[in-house]
């Protein structure tokens, strides 16, 4: 494949393979440090059960929905638009719409939910891509309006899949969005508990990474993220590139919303609360800079896994969830600080 993105002196505008390797490995190196920490704690008898297949599957399982949402969020961040704050209500709305539409069967419900999500994505795409509204503020406004719409339409009620669904089978299918054991489903044993959201996360990471690093859209996205004006003057259709990033984000938020709704078996306006900041945290820990154009989806997966590891180790240590915030926040700032510093020392200053 020909590399079209080159500077005048022939250097590739894509980060060099070594840099890319380092950025990806850097975060997995940090993850390895946390695993080592867990292993040491276990060896000294402070915690137990950390080093087991079941525990690692647990860790991945608990962050799978965050991972799904973070992949889409990463596209937005990569495009230089910081974050999509409309993610929480996109999740809530698509979830509640899906539940409401279960009366027409399972697949129609999923289809309508995805269309709903894509409509929100399209609105963001037009306003931010074409009119260059400030992404944070605009998506915040969309978040408000969507919340208002959900609550006006469903009058502050929550709805249950099994009362709405046309048949019990439909409601069970909806239940299994979160609960389906993929290994068991394709005929394996039920000892290995790989659920659908985990699989979805991994597939999305693979596709996302492929799109970012191997397609022309990915290249254009990088260029747009790196410099909006430069990309525009080079002839990149920045409007649609940025727009598409927001559509991708709305799509993954929809998938996340369906999983969250399926898990809690209820469509309600509060589903998905907090996923905006959590996804940004994962994306940024994973090595993406808010300035855009830098990072990788594989790195974001690393960020998601680190969050899972930190939560797991701290809960095994018996630290109350609400106190864990102190450590989580500190690690967040430190990791990002180190990342920013190392990029600067490499002469790749963003900010």
């Amino acid at each position: 494949m020909e590399d079209k993105l080159k500077t005048t002196d022939g250097r590739s505008l894509r980060s060099g393979s070594f840099m890319r390797f380092m950025i990806v490995v850097g975060i997995y190196f940090a993850a390895a440090l946390f695993i080592l920490l867990g292993a040491v704690l276990q060896a000294t008898g402070v915690i137990r059960g950390f080093l087991s297949v079941q525990n690692f599957i647990n860790i991945i399982d608990t962050v799978s929905m965050l991972g799904i949402v973070a992949v889409g969020m990463a596209f937005v961040t990569y495009s230089g638009n910081m974050a999509d704050m409309s993610v929480p209500t996109t999740m809530a709305l698509t979830g509640i719409v899906a539940v409401q539409m279960l009366q027409y069967g399972f697949w129609p419900a999923i289809g309508i939910a995805i269309v709903t999500g894509l409509i929100i994505g399209m609105i963001n795409a037009i306003v931010i891509g074409r009119f260059r509204a400030n992404p944070i503020i605009w998506t915040l406004a969309v978040n408000y309006v969507t919340m208002g719409v959900i609550r006006l339409v469903w009058v502050n009620k929550q709805i249950y899949p099994d009362t709405v669904a046309s048949t019990a089978g439909v409601s069970q299918s909806f239940d299994s969005i979160y609960r389906l054991n993929v290994v068991q489903h394709i005929g394996g044993n039920d000892l290995l508990n790989i659920r659908l959201p985990m699989l979805m996360m991994l597939i999305l990471v693979v596709i996302g990474q492929f799109v970012l690093s191997r397609t022309s859209f990915g290249g254009q996205l990088k260029m747009t993220g790196a410099s909006f004006r430069a990309a525009k003057f080079t002839g990149v259709h920045v409007e649609s590139v940025i727009g598409l990033a927001f559509v991708v984000c709305a799509f993954t938020a929809t998938l996340g919303g369906l999983a969250v709704t399926s898990l809690s078996r209820v469509g309600a306006w509060y589903n998905g609360a907090g996923y905006d900041f959590r996804a940004v945290t994962a994306v940024v820990i994973g090595g993406m800079t808010l300035a855009g154009g830098r990072g990788s989806i594989v790195g974001v997966l690393g960020g998601v896994l680190i969050i899972g590891l930190i939560n797991n180790i701290m809960t095994l240590l018996g630290i109350p969830t609400l106190s864990q915030d102190i450590i989580r926040g500190a690690i967040f700032i430190i990791v990002v600080g180190i990342n920013a510093k190392s990029l600067r020392s490499l002469g790749r200053d963003d900010t």
């Binding site: 009119f131 406004a141 309006v145 106190s323 926040g329």
Partner: protein, 345 residues
């Protein structure tokens, strides 16, 4: 061929409306509520509106200065809570004379840390303040064990009564504190070089540097002011409630942020003002108050607030978009071309 008159009436009226749109919005909503909302326009209800805005209006002062400097402070919500917890938690041992200043200093310190991380460690303010917000949430829980703090001593109650006492229509001591801070900071930001430099730093850092302004110091200063006003707002609110809860400031972040934007302070920095944010908060509160008086639910409130925010952002973005389209084009040249029968574009 004469030069076309570029300054038509239209182009003078529209910018004026544009510049003063928050004041227009304020009067429109005020007039609507006065005309239609039951029991809206009376001293009691107006005082209620003022005292409800007192906290968030105070918080919005510092938040606006941070935005004017081109940064973002997500930690204000938890600083409010922290200040309330410190102010009331230390009162039994040291009295308000010590605990309130300590709470305010704590707010400034959070701002200092934010500012240092943004300027010296060069981390994006969105990330820094998201981090400090998370940390402070944990600190609040850790220091209180999840308990709210309440004081039911005569001193606490008399302070609470004093802060909420009506001195004259629309003014209680707590509202007075907010009004005074708004007035002082509006004057400082407009009339002093110190204040104007914030606009310079936020508008264009390079220009500021060329003008000999130390950007870093101003950014740190902006964050400290944000911590200060958030703490003042939080601690006085807690004192009037005679209690501080775990989620005192949780709702303030999004509220203050949207009000500041509606007020015309841009996230890109260099634009806006303290008084505009105050008017925006007041406008939103009048709207909310009216919604309650009409007997409508929160869903209407959320929807309307979102709609106003969305329209303002959309309008602003569209204005810039149109401006960008016109920049570099020479209108009289276009006109000549049009006269010559050549289609533009």
């Amino acid at each position: 061929m004469t030069t076309p008159n570029l300054k038509s009436n239209r182009s003078q009226v529209l910018p004026w409306i544009d510049r003063n749109r928050i004041f227009l919005l304020f009067f429109v909503i005020l007039a609507f509520m006065t005309a239609f909302a039951p029991r809206f326009f009376n001293p009691f209800n107006l005082t209620t509106i003022m005292s409800t805005t007192a906290m968030n209006a105070c918080v919005a002062i510092g938040f606006s200065i941070v935005m004017i400097s081109g940064q973002l402070d997500l930690s204000i919500g938890t600083v409010i809570t922290l200040a309330g917890i410190i102010g009331l938690g230390l009162q039994p041992r040291f009295g308000y004379a010590v605990s309130v200043p300590v709470a305010i200093v704590a707010g400034c310190l959070v701002g200092l840390v934010n500012g240092l991380l943004v300027t010296k460690a060069k981390i994006n303010s969105f990330i820094v303040t998201l981090g400090t917000m998370t940390i402070l949430q944990g600190v609040v829980y850790q220091s209180t064990g999840g308990n709210s703090i309440a004081l039911s001593t005569p001193v606490a109650f008399s302070t609470a009564d004093f802060l909420g006492k009506k001195l004259m229509p629309l003014v209680t001591p707590r509202i007075l504190v907010t009004l005074a801070l708004v007035a002082v900071f509006e004057l400082v930001m407009r009339k002093t070089r110190f204040g104007r430099n914030f606009y310079m730093v936020g508008g264009n850092r390079n220009t500021a540097w060329l003008a000999g302004i130390g950007s870093d110091a101003y950014i740190i200063g902006a964050f400290m002011l944000s911590g200060l006003t958030a703490a003042v707002g939080g601690v006085f609110f807690a004192m009037e409630s005679a209690a501080a809860t775990q989620n005192l400031g949780t709702n303030s972040l999004m509220y203050v942020m949207s009000a500041t934007i509606i007020g015309g302070t841009a996230m890109s920095g260099g634009k806006g003002g303290v008084f505009r944010s105050f008017v925006a908060i007041l406008t939103l509160e009048i709207l909310y108050d009216g919604v309650i008086l009409f007997g409508l639910g929160n869903e209407v409130k959320i929807f309307l607030a979102g709609l106003i925010l969305a329209l303002v952002v959309l309008y602003e973005a569209y204005a810039v978009y149109k401006h960008d389209k016109v920049v570099g084009q020479r209108p009289y040249l276009l006109k000549e071309l049009a006269e010559a029968g050549v289609k533009k574009g």
